[in-house]
């Protein structure tokens, strides 16, 4: 009986240890810290692998993408580095370290930003959208709608001069509508991608024999219009359209509306 109990305890301990080990392996934070350790030992390839393993578990964070971007940058993979930083911006858009490293990576890449060719209104819109996450923008829109509703009810119940009521309601309606438009526009991020090859050629047609239209460089941001087989129709930030090999870029969002584009 005693031997049986001892045996049972040993088996139970082994099962618990295995479970704990499995739990650690599954805990994304553990992999993250291991990746950091590898990075600090200048083992950037190992760090990248560990960070990617965390992503393969189906979770992501701003710091994770940021560290992954650093690892790629250290290994001179500019396209992947910029892509990772852009992905990190989805989570931590106002992080100054991230912005600094992204600027540095862009300065090292050959990609020129055609953003100056965009209209002022669109540029302001881009900057504004870059300041917030999509969730934040959604909640801001909800907040303004809430205020608008309160103002509409308040205007009915509080005796305020009519023109003041309309000014308040007008401003809040403008803010709510504007924020809603910004949020919808932000959700177009699902179409945004970054070039990962050192350079890629955009052609007029989805064929290797088609005339070349323009060059794309590592890290350059594009919008994916549609995908046909191995080719994708893309739009550059300045509005130019072209066909590129689908393997030459990766979408910034690794999830979301990919299915719709297939």
């Amino acid at each position: 009986m005693r031997k049986l109990m001892m045996g049972g305890m040993v088996i139970l301990s082994l099962v618990c240890s295995w479970a704990v080990a499995q739990g650690d392996l599954q805990n994304p934070a553990v992999k993250f810290y291991e990746g950091n350790l590898a990075y600090k030992q200048n083992n950037y390839a190992q760090a990248m692998t560990l960070y990617e393993e965390v992503l393969n578990q189906g979770v992501a964070s701003g710091a994770l993408y940021y560290n992954l971007g650093n690892s790629y940058l250290k290994t001179q993979k500019m396209g992947k580095a910029i892509l990772s930083y852009e992905r990190a911006k989805i989570f931590i858009p106002r992080d100054s370290d991230l912005q600094s490293n992204l600027d540095y990576a862009v300065s090292l890449s050959k990609a020129s930003s055609p953003i100056s060719e965009i209209s002022l209104l669109k540029r302001i819109s881009h900057y504004y959208q870059d300041m917030f996450t999509a969730r934040e923008m959604m909640w801001l829109a909800a907040f303004f709608c809430l205020l608008l509703g309160i103002a509409v009810i308040g205007a009915e119940m509080v005796s305020l001069s009519q023109w003041k009521q309309w000014v308040v309601i007008g401003i809040l309606a403008f803010l709510a509508l504007g924020q809603g438009v910004m949020w919808v526009s932000k959700s177009k991020d699902t179409l945004k991608a970054a070039v990962i090859l050192e350079d890629a050629q955009a052609r007029f047609e989805p064929s290797d024999q088609a005339t070349q239209h323009f060059y794309l460089f590592a890290g350059e941001k594009i919008f994916v219009v549609k995908i046909e087989g191995a080719w994708a129709k893309i739009e550059r930030l300045d509005g130019k359209l072209g066909w590129v090999q689908a393997s030459s870029f990766e979408k910034i969002l690794r999830f979301g509306k990919e299915q719709e584009l297939q």
Binding site: G58, V59, F91, W163
Partner: protein, 588 residues
């Protein structure tokens, strides 16, 4: 007459004053005058009972407390307001009132007022337009030019105060006053100060503008008049009709058209100023400085090599026209090479910086400097002497290059070359999100928005209905009519079941009467078979239905007054008729 005010003094070290003022000095027998008894420098005061005033009856209105902080100066006052009702015409006097405050006696000035048969016209209708433009402004808005003295010396500082007084009038777009005068140099006006003041027994809102004038030459001059442009806001007479339901045709047009601005230019009286020449015998070095000044001089370093620069700094501060002052400055000498001075002025301080370079090691001091000015208060020339400063000059080292003197120019900034690299990794992972949730659920948001909008609309509808139920009696009755009719119908049904014909028809009659009275907002007494015929015809109700209603009314009346009896079948038929009638009018 002596009045004792119960006044609570506070710890503020303000000057206490006691003043009486009225809102107007001309009034009609059919109008009133508001009398203010104001104690300045206290925080509260109890009201008093006014004694009999010849020619007036009085009534206490209430107190008003005023606290203001202007430029850090705290002031408070308490006004007790009274209405005076004139009892006779003629020139009347509101007597002086006296009060003992904190053991000290204060007394107001008597105020003369003129009482006419009827109130004097304050406006006059122009034949060209239908607006009430103010035409009698002299008592309501006036401009005063004040100077502290009428004899000044050339270049002496002369404070000028221009006060805009306004009482019972609304002024807007008030411009800074203009003082066209070539014989004086004026500083810019400071920030205007607003306060209340009593002038000739009338309480005014005052806007005070302050500046300083400096006479440029001697002689007798006229200062002013000061002119101030502003607009008077007055109400247009409402000659136009209003829109539907008594509301204005258009809110904004009504708002802006009911009030109109009328530009006016107020002019002050003039002041004579005698400008005296400065006395003869000004000491050497006098540079047109008139006023009260301080003069400081410093030099550094005081131990140098031959050819090294020494910076001297002179500062003149005080009250006077600093712009016209000639600063004392060093000139080239056998001991020093002297560079051109740099002169700056900030507010009441004027500074001079100059670089001196000793030419030989024998130089042992920086010479003294004297600043001479004329003090108009003492009426004498004053001299302030600073220096000399002991100086040690060493021979110039062999091969040493002379220093380049660049005046006040800063050393050119050297561009800092900074390295650039990747900012280190983040130590903590932050919040892990499952893939696909970062964009926010659009469907959830849209559902929230939809529900929220419905909620808003529902609240508005309910609220408006509630308000209308309170304010629109007819609407409320119409809404309640079916509910009451259903109650009556249930009562009739009960009497039908227990076979009580009289009660049944009585209930049916009341149901019809109340229902139509509330439905068409007419008195119950008017709801008879005959009157209802006319009412229903006007509402284009079919003759068949009108006939049915009249028939039921007649049946009810016959049974109620005991003319005939009724059996169950007839009651059942009439009950159905009642239900059909109510149903018909509910669907209408």
């Amino acid at each position: 007459m002596i009045l004792f005010l119960s006044i609570a003094l506070n710890a503020f070290s303000q000057d206490i004053s006691f003043q009486a003022s009225v809102d107007k000095k001309r009034a009609g027998l059919d109008s009133t005058i508001v009398l203010d008894l104001t104690v300045t420098g206290v925080q509260n005061a109890s009201p008093i009972e006014l004694p009999e005033i010849d020619g007036f009856k009085s009534r206490y209105i209430g107190p008003s407390t005023s606290i203001s902080i202007v430029n850090g100066q705290y002031s408070s006052s308490v006004s007790q307001k009274y209405i005076l009702y004139p009892q006779k015409t003629g020139s009347l006097t509101i007597p002086a009132f006296a009060s003992t405050i904190d053991g000290k006696q204060y007394e107001t000035q008597p105020i003369d007022v003129e009482i006419l048969e009827s109130a004097p016209a304050e406006s006059q209708l122009s034949s060209s337009d239908a607006v009430n433009r103010p035409t009698n402004l002299e008592d309501k808005a006036l401009l005063r030019l004040e100077i502290p003295k009428e004899k000044v010396y050339v270049h002496e500082r002369l404070p000028v105060t221009i006060k805009l007084y306004a009482s019972s009038i609304s002024l807007t777009d008030i411009q800074f006053p203009a003082l066209a005068q070539n014989d004086f140099v004026f500083e810019d006006f400071g920030k205007p100060v607003q306060y209340q003041d009593v002038l000739n027994g009338v309480s005014y809102d005052v806007v005070e503008f302050n500046t300083v004038a400096y006479p440029a030459k001697d002689g007798i001059f006229t200062l002013g008049p000061a002119q101030l442009d502003c607009n008077v806001v007055y109400k247009r007479s409402s000659s136009r009709g209003s829109g539907f339901g008594g509301f204005p045709d258009d809110f904004f047009s009504d708002f802006f058209s009911n009030y109109e601005k009328y530009p006016i230019a107020l002019k002050s009286e003039v002041r004579n100023v005698e400008v005296l020449p400065l006395p003869q015998g000004a000491p050497q070095g006098f540079g047109a400085a008139v006023g009260q000044f301080d003069f400081q001089l410093s030099a550094s370093p005081l131990e140098v090599n031959v050819g090294d620069p020494i910076t001297v700094k002179m500062t003149i501060s005080g009250r006077g026209d600093l712009k016209t002052i000639d600063m004392p400055a060093y000139k080239d000498s056998e001991n020093f090479k002297v560079y051109d001075p740099q002169i700056k002025q900030q507010g009441n301080v004027k500074t001079l910086e100059q670089v001196l370079i000793p030419k030989a090691e024998k130089v042992n001091q920086v010479p003294a400097v004297a600043f001479v000015y004329f003090d108009p208060q003492k009426q004498t020339f004053e001299t302030i002497r600073q220096g000399p400063f002991a100086l040690t000059v060493h021979p110039s080292p062999q091969g040493a290059m002379p220093q380049v003197v660049e005046g006040k120019q800063e050393k050119a900034a050297v561009a800092e070359t900074l390295g650039r690299d990747v900012i280190f990794i983040k130590e903590n992972p932050g919040v892990f999100y499952p893939m696909g949730v970062v964009l926010g659920d659009r469907n959830v948001f849209l559902l929230f928005l939809l529900l929220y909008m419905f909620g808003i609309i529902a609240i508005l509808v309910v609220y408006r209905r509630k308000v209308r139920m309170k304010t629109d009696v007819g609407y409320a009755k119409r809404l309640r009519a079916p509910q009451k009719a259903r109650q009556g119908l249930r009562a009739a049904e009960h009497f039908l079941k227990v076979h009580k014909p009289k009660e049944f028809y009585d209930a049916a009659y009341k149901v019809l009467q109340k229902y139509f009275a509330e439905k068409f907002s007419i008195p119950e007494g008017m709801v008879t078979a005959h009157d209802l015929h006319e009412i229903l015809l006007k509402r284009s109700i079919s003759l068949a239905m009108i006939g049915k209603v009249q028939e039921l009314f007649s049946a009810c009346e016959l049974i109620r007054y005991g003319a005939i009896s009724s059996d169950t079948a007839a009651m059942q038929k009439n009950y159905q008729a009642l239900k059909e009638i109510l149903d018909f009018f509910e669907r209408l």
